[in-house]
């Protein structure tokens, strides 16, 4: 779901970069990094990175990979998850070309910010009914909300940055194409992410109880 370079107009990514920088600065203050938290944050970021590399086979001969956003948001807190995923996305964009530098602010706002906070608050909303369903919902919503945001941003590009004759200069398809083609597959992918989140969060919370209690 990482958007590469060239698809997002400066009219979109420059304001998003200012907003993203503000959120990162606020998160930096909120997390209050010290000698304990810096290594932990870097470790969590590395975990997020490596979770995205784990390939899980699904019926039908295809594979999916984890996003791990909900897992981090639930195991730590949404600000730590936001900072970690932002760091991972930056390193991925600069070193591996996975997602672009100009689209980094949009990727950061969608995956890192909306993904982490939708997972955290989605969990809080459903928790009163069932803990298990709440974790599942957190995983599902952490995929669906970012996909909705990305589809909207991409679909708005022909409106935001077209030539006078209406020719697109960046992403060429409108909302009528992006919303169904991006959001619908993610509604299903979200189910898988939800199931994996239930399995992993419960397991890690039990196995590493001391680390999370500290």
């Amino acid at each position: 779901m990482h958007i590469p370079d060239g698809f997002i107009s400066p009219q979109t990514y420059l304001p998003a970069a200012i907003l993203g920088a503000g959120l990162l600065f606020y998160g930096y203050k909120k997390v209050a990094l010290d000698v304990e938290k810096i290594p932990m944050l870097s470790g969590v970021s590395a975990m997020a990175f490596v979770m995205m590399l784990i390939i899980i086979p699904i019926p039908g001969g295809t594979t999916v990979h984890l996003s791990g956003i909900a897992i981090l948001a639930l195991l730590f807190n949404p600000w730590v998850a936001f900072m970690s995923i932002s760091l991972v996305l930056l390193i991925q964009a600069l070193m591996f070309g996975d997602g672009g530098v100009t689209s980094y602010p949009i990727n950061m706002l969608s995956l890192a910010f909306l993904g982490s906070f939708s997972a955290y608050y989605g969990y809080a909303l459903v928790k009163r009914y069932s803990e298990k369903y709440a974790i599942f919902f957190a995983g599902w919503v952490s995929i669906v909300i970012p996909s909705l945001f990305i589809a909207t941003i991409l679909g708005l590009q022909p409106i935001i940055a077209s030539a006078e004759d209406g020719t697109a200069r960046f992403f060429p398809f409108g909302l009528d194409v992006t919303l169904p083609s991006i959001v619908l597959p993610h509604l299903l992918l979200g189910v898988l992410e939800g199931l994996v989140t239930v399995a992993v969060v419960g397991f890690l919370k039990t196995k590493f109880k001391r680390a999370f209690d500290a």
Partner: protein
């Protein structure tokens, strides 16, 4: 020129490439960047170009093919498609060229916490990635394919190992920071 200034020049250039909508400009940037890298090393130049091309292949390929199919039914401008792909390749090529020629860690050195955070994250990422790769190689040597690799029953022990390594490494780094007095408590 210090790393920091190269980075700002790079940022300025990629924004500039976003406001100028000329295929010729994008083409010139691609050629010039390629020639610049060739001057340093022919092998490196091809490696960077291949890396940039592969990084864009899936997303740009999907969008381009969809656009071409769309063009069968509705009149479209093919220049848009060329501009879109050329701009993406120019920016990605510039990014990889910059990261090859500058020391990103040195660039962040003026900000103590950011420098440490980046160094720790990158080293842990590489370490965990290596562990995962070794795990995949281990499975492969036993006849498993990538598609049958991490089954549900294997996911938990794998994540447990990765998580335990991450916690251990974080704890070690924390002790290292404290013992060297790199950050005030």
């Amino acid at each position: 020129m210090p790393e920091k200034y190269w980075f700002f020049l790079y940022l300025f250039t990629i924004v500039f490439l976003g406001v100028v909508h000329s295929v010729w400009l994008m083409g010139s940037v691609i050629v010039l960047t390629f020639l610049f890298n060739t001057k340093v090393s022919k092998k490196v130049s091809w490696r960077i170009f291949k890396k940039a091309f592969l990084a864009l292949l899936v997303f740009n390929g999907t969008v381009s093919i969809s656009y071409l199919i769309y063009g069968v039914f509705v009149p479209v401008s093919y220049e848009v498609l060329i501009l879109l792909n050329a701009r993406a390749l120019a920016i990605t090529l510039l990014t990889f060229t910059l990261m090859h020629h500058i020391n990103f860690h040195k660039m962040l050195s003026s900000h103590h916490v950011l420098g440490i955070l980046y160094a720790f994250t990158f080293s842990q990422m590489m370490q965990l990635k290596k562990m995962l790769q070794d795990y995949y190689f281990g499975l492969k040597s036993r006849g498993a394919t990538l598609k049958s690799s991490v089954k549900r029953e294997q996911l938990k022990p794998l994540l447990e190992t990765l998580f335990a390594t991450m916690l251990h490494k974080s704890n070690e780094q924390s002790l290292g920071l404290r013992s060297r007095g790199l950050l005030d408590d």
